[in-house]
Amino acid sequence: MRDKKEKTENSRRKFIQQGMALGASAVAGSFLLSSCNKKDEKSGEKVNVLSPDGHVLEIDKESIHNCRPAAADRKEARKGIPGRKFVMVIDLAKCKNARKCVEDCQDMHHLPLHMEYMKVYLMKDAKNTPPYWMPKPCFHCDNPPCVSLCPVGATYKRSDGIVLIDTHKCIGCKFCMTACPYSARVFNWEKEEQDEQDKEIAYSPETSIPRVHGTVSKCDFCPEMARAGKLPSCVTACPNGVIYYGDANEDAVSNGEEIVRLSSLLVDKGGYHYAEELGTEPSVYYLPPVDRIFPVDKGLDNMSEEIRNRYRNFAKEV
């Protein structure tokens, strides 16, 4: 009986969430409905969803489920979503190196095993301070050195604060990689790997797919998901709700479970920027690793030997 009730609640929640998602996407514009990467899979099945203003709408099922929303083309992707300023808050107290953010991000961006837009570092600030896990995406700085230095304007900052790379314009000089103090950028070294894959997909700087050999790519903050009112996969993948993502103009961020005021989150938990002294003004805030939920060692449990090896040298240094 209780079981049933739970299920009922789940389904109701699902229903309500769908309604909410649609309402948000209606605001975000016309990108939702024209959306599927795999066109032949479009089922034509219709789903009723409830919009917050009380209208019952019938939309294609594929628009809601299992499908990445359509992204803007190269020209449109330079503009940014009007009125938005995307930020991320990462709560270091909750991270236990589950690596779900890394894996889901790789999945979403069709990355090979070793290419990571989101990385998780084992950090230790000083001799007597505790070690902690630190997920690190691109910081999408408000004063981005990578963009200042780019000779051809292949990487650019948009009005919504997102720094993207147009890999069809990038000449691969790697200047931006030396300029980025946060090692956020990765280079497409291998040739075959990405030229064959993803060929049919129309390129968009917003999705960073398909990657182009000999160019630079990095975390893109998934603006095409935001256009559809969806959170980036690193946020939704995290089992501990570590990563919050949202619009600073709305003063609201979400970690997929709760939506909180950005300002009060930062004030209450003492948010800060990593290496603030560089003056890059990142869009990614960190919450200090106080009252950590998980012991640091737990982060390496069930990890492959390869992953453990990554932190071996660092453990020695510490």
């Binding site: 570092y121 000089c173 790697k174 300029a179 040298n313």
Partner: protein, 443 residues
Amino acid sequence: MKKNVRDFYNLLSFARQLDSKGLFGFVWMFVIICCIIVGFVALFSQIIEGHAITGMRDNVVWGIYIVNFVFFMGISYAGAIFSGLLVLLKIPWRAPIIRITQLVSVICGLIGPLYIFLCIGRLDRVYFLFIYGRVPSPIIWDIFAMITYLIGNIAFLFLLLVPDLAHLRDTNELRLAPWRKKLYTFLALNYKGSPKQQKDLTSALKILATILIPISVLLTTILSWIFGMTTRPGWNSTIFGPYFVFAALYAGVALVLVIMWVFRKRYDLQDYITDLHFNYIGIVMIIIACIYAYFSFNEYFSMWYSFQKWDARVMARITDFDRYGWLFVFTNFIGIIVPILIVSIKKLRSIRNIGIASIIIILGMWVKRYISIIPTLETPLFPIQDSRIEYVHYTASWVEWVLTFSGLALFLFLITVITKIIPIVQLTESLLNKEAREQKANS
């Protein structure tokens, strides 16, 4: 002026290489061309396999290609500054060395940029630099300034060559092939040496010499800015501009000395390139070495003294004897102190020793570029946590080494070929000097 045209009784004595044929020359050219061909093989495998074939990875994104680029461009700029100064200051002993300096400058200036092309991921999009170029990017400053500089530098070499070409056009002393005669006639630009022509030529040369010096200084500075404008520890330094200028001059003067030494031996130019020249340039070298050492000390001392977190990490890496410690000692102690000692102690100051010291300097300066570029890239703010050793430490791959050496081979090839066509010692001025000396002796 008519006298100059007639009095070519000893043209052969300082333009021997124009006429020389022999087994050694053939073997030399064969070896060089083989090196260049191997370089092409490496280049093709890089084009086919992609950049994965190099030792560069996500952290160390610039390897020895950029080291070579900075190295060659530095020498090129230094050569331009020297030759400009030699022309402007009317230094009396300039005649035998100015051509060598200019040639080194132009050839290095042509080889250096090749290394940027090797380092760029999408060679097919290089023209984007001109279509989409952004003014705030130091690379754009560098590209535009470099093109301007190269044109000016080649023009400078050429215009100073015009009287010599005119001589070669008019002389019958050398057994020159008809095509060479035609080439000289074409290149000599109807130069006959009339006062009017001399006036035009001199003023054109003066303009070029005057403009080339600041361009070269600015370009070396822009080169340093490619590193200095980032936020990276070890790069983001305010003295990087002048530091690079003097580092470039230091390597440049050493390369000029080596080439003088080699040509003097190979073509018996003892009468023209004398001890005096080696002494004078040696003294210039000591002065530059001192200024360069002063900058080096400044840079490292302030980094070490304040011991800021990131700087300290880079310093620790550079001075770590398991990593770059020996290279650090080589470039900053052996590469500076040994040449100073050789030139300043009279007993040691022989032409051969100065040549050896110059080779040490050249190697030291290459190493210097290596340890100012690679360790910084190996020390990002976030620690490198990677299980793959090639992502943690940079090691140049065979492709990179082969292309480095074939760049050197290309330098040697160009300098050999060009000196077969044009005289290595400035003819006109040397003749004038010689006449003046003889007249003095007679009277």
